[in-house]
Amino acid sequence: MSKLMTIHLKVWRQASATAEGRFADYTVPNVNPHMSFLEMLDVLNENLTLSGEDPVEFDHDCREGICGSCGIMINGQAHGPNARTATCQLHMRDYSDGDTIVIEPWRAKAFPVIRDLVVDRAPFDRIMSAGGYVSVNSGAAPDANAIPVPKNSVDEAFDYAACIGCGACVAACPNSSASLFTGAKVSHLALLPQGSPERKERVTAMVTQMAEEGFGDCSNHAECEAVCPKGISITAIALMRREYVKAAFGRQ
C-alpha cells in the first residue's frame, strides 16, 4: 500500500457563464498515488457533496485518453506536465504529499466558461461543419482496397486524424490560436484521395471559420505540439498554410 497524500487545490469556481469567477482553496486528504487526477477530483466532489457544497464541474467521459472530453489547465500546463497524455491519464503519483495544485479552465474568448472547469468547445464543431468532412453518396461501403493510397500518405493522414478535439492546443497557445486543430483536420483530409476533390473549398472555409470564432493568430510558439495528447506535429499547420496558398493562388 502506497503512502496516502494530502493535496491542496486552488480551483476556479464559476457558477455560470455570466457569473463572476474566483479561486477556491480545498484540501483533499488521503489521496492514493495510484488515483488518476480525475479520480482525485471525484474524491474532492464527494467530500464537497457531503459537506453540502456544490461539486466542482468538469468534463470527462472515456477516461482513457481517446474521447477528448477532459481537459483542464493544471499548474499552468494543459493536461498537466506529462507529454502525450490527456488529463485523465495523469496520475497522482506525479505529485508529492503537501503539494498545492492550481486548476483552471481553458482560457480563450472562443471557449467561454460554462461552469467551473467546463468550457464551450462548440467553435471546434463549427470549424468542422465549415469543411471538415468529405461529401459522399451514402450507399454501400466500397471495398477498402478500391482506392489505392500510398503507405506514407496513410501514415501521415492517420497521425493528423488522431486529433481528439480536446482544445489543449488553444488553451496552451499564448495567442489562443486554433491552428493546430484546424491544421490537423485540413491535413488529414488533404493527404487522402477521398479528400482531394474538395480540398480548396475546405481549407478556405475552415481557415475563415477559425478566425470568425475569435481564435488568435499562430505565432509558431509550437506550445500546441508540446501539449497535444496525441503529439500532433506543427507540420499540420505548415500543410494547412500550403493548402490555403494553393487554394488562393493555384490554378482554379
Partner: protein, 235 residues
Amino acid sequence: MADKRVDLKSFSGSQVGKKILTGITGLGLTLFVLMHMVGNLSFFSPDEQAYNAYAHKLMSLGPLLWAVEIGLLAFVLVHIVLGVRIYLGKRAARPVDYQTYRTVGGASKQSVASRTMIWTGVILGVFLVFHILSFKYGPGVDDGYVTTLNGEEVRDLRRLMVEKFQEPLYAFGYPIVMLLLGFHLRHGIWSALQSLGAVKPAWSPVIYSVAAVIGALIAIGFLVLPLWIFFGGGA
C-alpha cells in the same frame, strides 16, 4: 461546401496570409540587416578608407538606392502593421488570462524571444527612426565631415561614427538594441521559415537551430563595432 474564392484582400487579412506576409517581409528585412552588418564590418579593413568607400558607393547608386529604400520602407510598414494586428488579436483572443501559466517544454519553441516579439519589435522600430536621423540624416559634407577618396570629396561617415560611438549613450545603447535584434531574429527567422512551409517534421528542428545561429551572428556582427570604437579602436 460553399465555394469561397480567396482574393488578395481576403488573403492578406486571413490568419494564413498574415503569417506568410509577416514571414516574407521579415526575411526580406533580415537579408537587409545581414548586408548592413557585412558592410559595417568593412570598418575593420586595414584600408582606412574602406568604410567611406563602401558608404559612398551605396550613395552613388541613385535611383536604384531609392527603389531599395522605398521597398524597405514598405516592408517595414507591412511588417509593423501585421505584427501589431497579430498582437491585438492575441490580446482579444484571451480576455481572462491564466493565473498560472508555464510551458511544458519538449517540442515547444516558446521562449523569452518568442513571447517578446511585439516589444523587441517596438523598440527596434523606435531605434530605426533614431538611427536613421543620427547617421543617414546626420552631419555630412556641408558640416565639415569631408574626406578625400580617389581625389573626390566625399562624406566622412567614418569620422561621424567614431565620434558618435565615443558617447556612452551610443556606445552602450546600440549594443543593447542589437542584442534585442538578436532575440527578435532568433524567433523571427524560425517563425518565418516555418510559416513559409516547413512541411516535413524533420525540417523544424533544423530551421530552429539555423535561426539561432543567424540571429546570434547578426547581433554580434553589429555590436562589436560600437564597443570597439568606444574602447579605443579606430581612433
